[in-house]
């Protein structure tokens, strides 16, 4: 009996030397880096706001969000515009260049595989061929509660 495998299409992006995936239906567009206006007293990982074709769009820096070291933006730096519920947010990533089908049975819920990173913004890890893909829980990526929690841990 052949098993019917549900596939999930995800946009793959890079952050440092790891690959992450976000569901394609949450992604509005992928933009090149452009002028970002800093918003004072916003959460640490919120870079500011950007003019996305006439719409003011908040931008968060995923490196900052995931506590990775900062690097200068390069030619390949991209902003992925995602929509979660009623929120429109752009995420700065190192590169975004792939769309892959992730079979549901390839997703492992346990984040232990990634080692040190153990956060609830990770939905699971998928292994496709030789690549490891960290699937994100976008809701948790955006929420400030998580940020508050992190900052208390830090201090």
């Amino acid at each position: 009996m052949s098993e019917v495998v549900q596939n999930e299409k995800v946009i793959v992006f890079q952050l440092k030397d790891e690959e992450y995936g976000v569901p394609i239906e949450n992604v509005g567009s992928i933009e090149r880096i452009q002028e970002i206006t800093r918003v004072p007293r916003a959460p640490r990982f919120v870079k500011g706001v950007m003019n996305l074709r006439g719409v003011i769009t908040p931008i968060i820096d995923l490196r900052e969000r995931f506590d990775l070291e900062q690097t200068a933006y390069t030619e390949s730096t991209r902003i992925i515009i995602v929509t979660i519920g009623d929120k429109n947010v752009g995420m700065i990533v190192d590169a975004a260049n792939d769309v892959v089908d992730v079979p549901q049975n390839q997703v492992e819920p346990s984040p232990e595989v990634v080692g040190s990173v153990n956060a609830d913004y990770i939905r699971g890890v998928a292994k496709i061929d030789q690549r490891l893909l960290v699937l994100l829980n976008l809701d948790k990526v955006l929420t400030e509660e998580e940020f508050d929690h992190l900052s208390t841990v830090e201090s």
């Binding site: 002028e35 206006t37 800093r38 918003v39 004072p40 007293r41 916003a42 919120v46 500011g48 706001v49 950007m50 003019n51 006439g54 719409v55 003011i56 769009t57 908040p58 009623d86 929120k87 429109n88 947010v89 955006l142």
Partner: protein, 665 residues
């Protein structure tokens, strides 16, 4: 036969007519002998009835009809205007409003009207001396089976005076006719090409549902001859017989005419007035536009304002003469365009005000008070978005004035005031703002009580209470968790309220002030912006960042020497035209990253105000004044301190808008 396209018009016009009825009823109550007011009510009610009947809302037309009878009796001076009569009439208006709002929400407009109808009937029959109903109930005379109501009568009379013929047509279909509805439709089609069908028996609805046998009758206004009409209708297949007879109101039963003669001359004069009025209305040349379209227009224009800013900047950079000229022209034209679009969205504040007289009337009766309510400046215009929002705050303030402000007649007489309290609702333009005042001549705000209460409820501390100005004390009643009512009443004083009023008004970019004198009364003044979407700002620079400060809160800008800065309580202040104004360094507030420590000899200061308080915002430099489109930061960043929104500048960059209210404490 398709009525949907008329539904919107029907609803709009019904609301207007009902408003007229409502307003004039209240006038009538004040001036019960003025019969011209009754005429006006009658006219509006009559139009309403006619339209409701045409649209097939029977309960609506029924109730209006009964109202009309009562009004008619008043007009004939067979009935005097008493409070009871007014109550029932106003109740009827309320019923009618409910029905119309039901219809506008897609309902059928049906409502149980028995009780109110019977009340109207009781008034009509109990107190009327000699009832002479002008309407004709179903009349089975030998000549015809039509019941002609006053509306149709009017149309017929008008047609006759225009030299048109009125026919009564009986159409009989063949017995084996299969598609009766189709035939009926074809007959109507033929007739409507040649005239106007005023009435049919059975009704159009029944005809559409095939609720008839082989024949139906109708009344037609036409300039064609009877033979031509007969011939044309007979051309429709499966029509077996057509009788066309002239129809005349005079063929109505004689006794009815006698009964109606009393009204006849008046009715005809009524008719004339009506035609005059409708001609006048047609001369106004207005059209109804869906508000969504206006919003879409506004959105497109906002895009254009952004691009206009961009063009201006590019032409400055290129410094090309022809380009500059063209861009200036575009700027000027789009400025004019902006004014037109903004005025198109303006509606008179009357839309909000008009529901208050009845509300106050009801409140005064419930509370046993006497209040004379005056409205001024109801024609003052405001942006629709603002109008939609200020209704509730105003209701709150008016209820508050009636409940807490104005005393009972006994108390008033004791303090030597007129028994009747005065409540003034006033709107006026001033600069880029609209002011709305609610003024009562009641007992005013008892500041000792307010202070005691504020301390008790923890709004302020004992120490703070000594340093407050009288104005600040008054404004304590707007703080949350504050209610001065000794007993919680139905009208107001649920402990929530005035603070909601304040926050609503502030969210609209407005402000509220209170003036009060103990024993003399209280005045609430609300200041509102004319529009919410495009505002004038002052652009300023802090390090590499650009911020926009709304012009409405700026008093002026100044460049001051460092030596002029004084210290008070360890805070930097300046002497600004005799006032001590604290300085707020925006660089610190906004945590602007700075890579150099240059101590400037001069400070650029924007002096802003919130009510009576002022503050000087220290910036690096001024860019200038600009019109910008206000945009939100999105749902994700909804609560950023001292930032009320953002805008897109000419170069496509985003500038944040400073909420100076948050910076003044």
């Amino acid at each position: 036969m398709e009525s949907n396209q008329y539904l919107d018009i029907f609803i709009d016009e019904s609301k207007e007519n009902l408003q007229v009825v409502n307003d004039q009823l209240l006038n009538l109550e004040k001036d019960s002998t003025n019969l011209s007011i009754v005429d006006e009510i009658f006219r509006a009610a009559h139009t309403l009835k006619g339209m409701a009947a045409t649209m097939g809302y029977e309960d609506l037309s029924d109730l209006t009809h009964k109202m009309e009878n009562v009004l008619d009796a008043i007009r004939q001076e067979q009935l005097t205007v008493t409070t009871d009569v007014m109550d029932v009439l106003l109740d009827s208006v309320e019923y009618l409003e409910d029905m119309i709002s039901d219809i506008s929400e897609g309902g059928s407009g049906a409502k149980e009207v028995e009780s109110i109808v019977s009340k109207l009937k009781a008034i009509e029959s109990g107190e009327a001396v000699a009832e002479t109903p002008s309407e004709v109930t179903v009349n089975e005379s030998s000549n015809n089976s039509f019941s002609i109501d006053q509306f149709e009568r009017t149309v017929i009379q008008q047609a006759q005076s225009d030299g048109q013929f009125i026919y009564q047509i009986r159409v009989t279909l063949t017995e084996d006719c299969l598609l009766k509805v189709a035939r009926v439709y074809m007959v109507f089609e033929v007739l409507e090409q040649n005239g106007e069908v005023i009435k049919s028996v059975p009704t159009v609805d029944e005809l559409e549902n095939e609720a008839f046998d082989q024949e139906f009758e109708l009344i037609l206004v036409s300039s064609e001859s009877a033979e031509d009409l007969q011939g044309k209708i007979l051309k429709v297949s499966e029509v077996s017989q057509v009788d066309v007879e002239p129809f005349s109101l005079d063929t109505k039963t004689a006794e009815e005419e006698v009964a109606a003669t009393v009204h006849a001359p008046e009715n005809s004069s009524e008719t004339k007035e009506e035609t005059v009025e409708s001609k006048k209305a047609a001369g106004n040349k207005t059209i109804r536009v869906n508000i969504d379209r206006l919003d879409a227009l506004m959105n497109l224009f906002e895009e254009m304002v952004i691009d206009r800013g961009r063009l201006e900047q590019i032409s400055d950079e290129l410094d090309h003469n022809d380009l500059k000229g063209t861009v200036e022209r575009i700027s000027r034209i789009s400025g004019d365009l902006q004014n037109i679009i903004l005025t198109m969205r303006m509606v008179p504040i009357d839309q909000v005000f008009n529901r208050f007289p009845r509300m106050v009337r009801q409140l005064t009766r419930d509370l046993g008070k006497k209040i004379d309510m005056q409205i001024e400046g109801a024609e003052t215009e405001l942006d629709r978005t603002v109008i939609d929002e200020i209704g509730d705050p105003l209701v709150h303030l008016i209820r508050n004035a009636v409940d807490h402000g104005i005393e009972t007649p006994d108390q008033r007489l004791e303090t030597g005031k007129n028994e009747e309290g005065k409540l003034l609702l006033k709107a006026f333009h001033s600069g880029n703002h609209v002011f709305v005042q609610i003024k009562d001549d009641g007992k005013g705000i008892n500041q000792d009580k307010v202070l005691a209460k504020a301390i008790e409820n923890g709004v302020i501390t004992q120490e703070q209470s000594t340093s407050l100005t009288s104005k600040q004390i008054n404004e304590l009643i707007l703080e949350s968790g504050f209610s001065t009512a000794q007993e919680v009443s139905d009208i107001s004083g649920r402990g929530v309220g005035l603070d909601v009023v304040k926050s609503t008004i502030e969210s609209l970019g407005g402000s509220i002030e209170i003036e009060s004198e103990l024993g003399q009364g209280t005045t609430f003044t609300i200041q509102l912006p004319l529009t919410l979407s495009i505002i004038s700002v002052m652009l300023v620079v802090i390090e590499n960042e650009t911020y926009a400060i709304p012009l409405s809160s700026i008093i002026e800008t100044a460049v001051i020497k460092k030596s002029e800065i004084m210290k008070a309580h360890n805070k930097e202040v300046i002497d600004f035209r005799g006032n001590i104004v604290p300085l707020v360094d925006l660089k610190e507030v906004f945590e602007v990253p700075s890579d150099h420590e240059v101590e400037d000899e001069f400070y650029s200061v924007v002096v802003v105000r919130k009510g009576d308080q002022m503050a000087g915002l220290v910036v690096d430099s001024f860019i200038g004044q600009q019109e910008i489109v206000l945009k939100g930061l999105g749902n994700y960043l909804s609560n950023i301190f001292a930032i009320s929104g953002a805008t897109i500048l000419g170069n496509g960059e985003v500038a944040l808008i400073v909420d100076s209210n948050a910076l003044i404490k």
